[in-house]
Amino acid sequence: MTRGVSLAINGTVYERTIDVRMLLSDFIRHEAGLTGTHVGCEHGICGACTVQLDGLPVRSCTLLAIQAQRHQVRTVEALAGTDGELNALQRSFQASHALQCGFCTPGLLMSLEPLIASSPPLRHEDVVEVIAGHLCRCTGYQQVVEAVLGCQRDG
């Protein structure tokens, strides 16, 4: 079964005719051409596909693309400026060496961005609660925590 859909991703509307079983992760990567969102386990566990739906971090691999209509989808491509300048969280990741291969990184950034904006000063356990939903094989996570705490401290 195919349907015409209209998806708003990073403020741009993408109109496509798709099979209704297409996952949002595949729409983002193959229809919208935004390959910053990565696909790992494809069943909601690893977190690599995490994007924001109306500002909330969600797994794009457990959403059908057609379900994202009438919502705002935001992906990692929205973080850097139009001139490619990294945002504060990305710079903090860089400074804290919070990425190596980079495969899990976009998902982490999309989960962590709303956390930075939350008002009380973050504690270690607040960050761990959020990154518990992400698998990283490279960093051991400590540098990710430091990047987030550092970003809130400096920002």
């Binding site: 079983r21 996952l23 595949d26 797994r59 691999c61 457990t62 959403l63 059908l64 057609i66 939903g133």
Partner: protein
């Protein structure tokens, strides 16, 4: 892998959803949060011919008062919202305690309270929590609406008393008696993993501090959330101290869970006993705290 082909319909009203379910019967699956259903389809463990997306049905996403003083939680309430809800914290604390253990925050942003209950995974947190909370499930079809006690709701692995044409619309959680404390304990290899074992407990004490009512439900201990009735009986009439908690947990293992439950694993049996005792003890302490 990718989901197999299906027909997709987005219900614009409850009536429309119920009509689709009545027409499609066992060929249809309801899509709410999709955090269980979509991976099942991606793994091709289920192949529904029809998907009925209910995410537009805002009237099912409310937390409000039921007529009889119970708290009515709409089936479509997102787990993350339920976790933040003041009403649930005050009036259905066991639900909130259980929600902290459900997967990860990213899953809870989409997953729904009703979806987890209707999915009826015996290792999941919410089915056991609502059982110990004496909840009632409200189901609706074109034939009308009915209430189902949580005790009668879970029939087998991933199976409930819902008919093919029925939609779970709400959970109703009755007010707890005074001096009631609750606790939810779970053991998983990592936080957010599927539970190896867990217990949802509600304890009510009288003015002397003796237990008058106990609900002990074990996750991952049977093909359904398991009410440990021998454990509950062992608590009645006594103070819920360390010894009482251990005795009750031992009863749970001896009487309520079968040999086949743990797959011959002494480890899982030991963990279940310890988790059960801990949850009973913590609930007892909270209940005693409420007396002040």
């Amino acid at each position: 892998m990718k989901p197999p082909p299906f027909e997709y319909y987005e219900a614009g009203s409850i009536e429309e959803a119920l009509t689709l379910l009545a027409e499609s019967g066992e060929d249809a699956k309801v899509l709410a949060g999709g955090q269980s259903l979509i991976p099942l389809m991606t793994f091709r463990l289920v192949r529904p011919e029809v998907i009925v997306d209910i995410n537009r049905l805002d009237e099912l996403a409310r937390i409000e008062d039921a007529d009889d003083g119970a708290l009515r939680v709409g089936a479509l309430v997102r787990q993350a919202e339920a976790e933040r809800s003041d009403a649930i914290a005050r009036r259905a604390p066991l639900l909130r305690q259980a929600l902290h253990h459900v997967a990860h925050v990213q899953i809870r942003n989409r997953g729904t309270v009703g979806g987890s209950v209707a999915h009826a995974d015996p290792a999941a947190e919410l089915p056991s929590a609502i059982l110990s909370a004496d909840a009632t499930l409200v189901a609706r079809s074109l034939r009308g609406e009915r209430s189902i006690n949580a005790d009668d709701f879970f029939t087998s692995h991933y199976a409930t008393a819902l008919a093919d044409d029925e939609l779970l619309v709400a959970l109703e959680i009755p007010a707890s008696p005074p001096r009631t404390g609750t606790a939810f304990e779970e053991y998983a290899r990592r936080r957010g993993d599927y539970a190896v074992s867990g217990a949802a407990v509600s304890i009510t004490l009288d003015a002397d501090g003796d237990c008058t009512r106990a609900r002990v439900t074990l996750l991952a201990s049977a093909e359904v959330p398991l009410r440990a009735r021998a454990a509950e009986a062992a608590l009645i009439g006594r103070a819920v101290d360390e010894e009482a908690a251990r005795d009750a947990a031992a009863q749970a293992i001896a009487e309520d869970t079968g040999d086949g439950t743990f797959g011959g694993s002494d480890y899982r049996r030991d963990v279940t006993e310890a988790i059960c005792a801990r949850a009973i003890r913590v609930a007892g302490v909270h209940a005693a705290g409420r007396a002040q």
